[in-house]
Amino acid sequence: MVAISGNDTGSYGDDKPSFFARWFYSTNHKDIGTLYLIFGIISGLIGGFLSFMMRMELGEPGIQFFTNEHQYLVFVSMHGLIMIFFMVMPALIGGFGNWFVPIMIGAPDMAFPRMNNLSFWLLPTALICLLVSFVLPGSASGDGFGGGWVMYPPLSTSGSPGPAFDFIIIGLLAAGFSSIFGAINFITTILNMRAPGMTMHKMPLFAWSVLVTAFLLLLALPVLAAALFMLFTDRIDGGTGFFDPARGGDPQMFQHLFWFFGHPEVYIMILPAFGIISHIVSTFSKKPIFGYLGMAYAMVAIGVVGFVVWAHHMYTIGMDVNLKAYFLAATLVIAVPTGVKIFSWLATMWGGSIRYTIPMQWALAFIFLFVIGGVTGVVLANAGVDTALHDTYYVVAHFHYVLSMGAVFGIFAGFYYWFGKMFGIMYNKFLAAAHFWLFFIGVNVIFFPQHFLGMNGMPRRYVDYPADFELWNHVSTMGAMITLLGVVFFFLMLIEAFIVRRKVGDNYWGEGATTLEWTLSSPPPYHQFNTLPRIDEDPTEHDADKMH
């Protein structure tokens, strides 16, 4: 995408600090990125375990594994919180963002390397707070918090009086501050540290996606922090009454504050994946991305419009019909920039020299599955339809198609795309392909039948269901087992790759990979770009030349 001259090919001092200082006191964006990725994998295992237990439970009617409904709901709530705040966000933004945004814009490190590490070290603190809540008194029915990841009062106030939920509030505040500091860091890095000649309109799309994401984090998370403080003081005896109708408060107000954060949050999770997919599709079609500026500003548009659509999560609270009409229309508007992105990816592949490598397979699957999730999103955006489908498995299927198959496929696509760059070694293609196909088939078998369950009226967040729903639930649970096998192959792939250590070159994807990370060694030197790269040519002209 970007033409580079004055490549940084010299080898220079690669003196790394001692083990403890390197990994615990780190100020190096690549090491911190690796820490984030390891953290994301650990959280993913915890969150995945929770969801696997839920799926086992729902394999047949009746209560098999859980002691009561409350324990099931604790698993539901914690699965959501852990997957969002501790798996997707750390992996996409903390992991790949830290690793590749500075390199792609030609910077030696992040703008605030120490604060970068603070962003990371707040996350283990936050995760400990969430895990502690499992074993602390929650509601009268048992330990832990079972009010859902959305934490609506009164379930999160008078409904869960124990300290379990207080720890979740503290944990989410810590995770929130981590993301806010990360956002400040990314915005400053991208605005202030681009290499000479790299104007905003020459910047790689992944950097664009992280820039938009960082602004969403910066503007949305403080509102969540305020809402969490309100919950915290509402829960104290003799405390505030923000969400208590008997004192003139309003529990619906929490939903507004929460979704004002929560809707930008879904774009926070998907935009970096958009950026990664753009690079992969371009690389393996051996063509520059189609409509670069349109792609960049589509993400900006998604970010801006994403702030004014939040109440489509709350159609059933009894809001005014005019308000519903507005939120419906605004929500459908988001389909336009999203469509720009999808069609630009297709147009990039059109006439390209396509290679079906492992990352390309994940990227193609991402496009296919994200479109399915997007289409069901258009269905749910309609207030009238949503009244029937609200809180059914149709919604569960929808947001797992965009997250569990959108964001997560984006993470795996990026992981396989940059695996050699990050660790200097290549994975075994058979194990990686087995991981992809098992995962692809598995998640579809889990979630596609959930559309049918939702259309038939099966509600979310119940530990049990009538026997009529058994068939598709059974199929869904089979899918969970296939996915688990896929996860096993992911770890086999990792173990094998780190034992065999097949070394890779600087640009192991060849001609299509044009961003700055491919000019560096694999793995890159401890501090790259001691001499800053210069970006001189107009990328569109250059790429047009290359195509002839």
Partner: protein
């Protein structure tokens, strides 16, 4: 390995213990918050040690006021967390000041610090958007809520005419007006200090900053005085109190978080004053002071919104 000189002006930082320690401090502080406000164990008399440290600390405070209740040490963890965090912040910013003095903050790094501070103030502004949002929600739509909630609101009819029936707000033209004038005055003294420093008048800068800090702490003192008065009148249901109505909740948490930010800003300025007294902060390079001044103007503006809406508009009836 062959050496290769660094030819850029960015600031690469050696490994630092402060981020990890910040994470640990946050864990201790968070545990302290939960123990103090919620308590991890119930008071049963079975295990005095556990109950002293891990039972709710707030009960003891309110029972101390009424004269009964047992001793609780829940606040100790919170205090340790606060001290831990303060120690980390001291060490971290001491390092930053030293790096600045050592010339690590080149022009491009200086611009980065400015971007960072602007972004930080933006997120602070969004935090207050949350508090104003709930305030405007309760004050603009109380009529609708009154008609929905007739079964839970004890005096629904009264809520149709007032966001907090039976509550008379603080007189805006008394202590709050004085606080407004104090903050506005402190905005001028900090600008005086800044311009004095630019023109090399270090004595004027020291006085300007000292007065700004003093005015900041006077503001907090007056706010405390107002809270103390409201606390004594809370039972009568005429003064806004955080527990009596949603307006009282919004009043206390919005003004309280603003007060906390004034405290943070005042400490920030005090640190700059200390650096100035020790010979730091050059006339051509003093971003620490500028960032503190930006922050100070930000809390000033938030106060003007609070004064206009939470104090004046409520008193005249929205």
């Amino acid at each position: 390995m062959a050496g290769h000189a660094v030819e850029h002006d960015y600031h690469l930082i050696p490994p630092s213990p402060w981020p990890l320690l910040s994470g640990l401090a946050a864990l201790v502080w968070g545990t302290g918050m939960v123990v103090f406000f919620a308590g991890l164990v119930q008071r049963t008399g079975d295990n005095n040690m556990m109950e002293f440290f891990f039972s709710k600390g707030l009960d003891t405070w309110s029972s101390t006021l009424t004269g009964d209740g047992s001793v609780s040490g829940g606040w100790i963890i919170l205090l340790i967390g606060c001290l831990f965090a303060s120690f980390v912040m001291y060490g971290w910013w001491r390092d930053v000041a030293r790096e600045s003095a050592a010339g690590d903050h080149t022009p491009v790094v200086d611009i980065g610090l400015r971007y960072g501070m602007i972004m930080f103030i933006m997120q602070e502004a969004m935090f207050f958007v949350g508090w104003f949002w709930i305030f405007f929600e309760t004050s603009l739509f109380h009529k609708f809520r009154a008609s929905w909630n007739t079964d839970v609101l004890p005096n629904a009819a009264d809520y149709a005419t007032n966001i907090a029936p039976g509550v008379t707000s603080v007189n805006a033209w008394h202590l709050p007006l004085m606080n407004t004038l104090i903050l506005l005055l402190s905005g001028t003294t900090v600008t005086w200090a800044h311009h004095a420093l630019i023109h090399g008048d270090r004595k004027g800068a020291k006085w300007g900053l000292f007065l700004t800090c003093l005015l900041g702490f006077i503001f907090i003192g007056i706010q405390g005085l107002e809270y103390a008065e409201l606390f004594h009148e809370r039972g009568e249901g005429v003064a806004p109190w955080l527990a009596n109505t949603a307006y009282g909740s919004a009043f206390f948490l919005a003004t309280g978080f603003h007060g906390l930010h004034v405290l943070i800003g005042a400490i920030f300025l005090l640190v700059c004053w200390g650096r100035l007294m020790k010979g730091g902060l050059r006339s051509d390079k003093h971003f620490g002071l500028e960032a503190a001044a930006w922050y100070w103007h930000f809390v000033d503006v938030v106060w003007l919104f609070l004064f206009a809406f939470v104090y004046i508009v409520f008193a005249t009836g929205p």
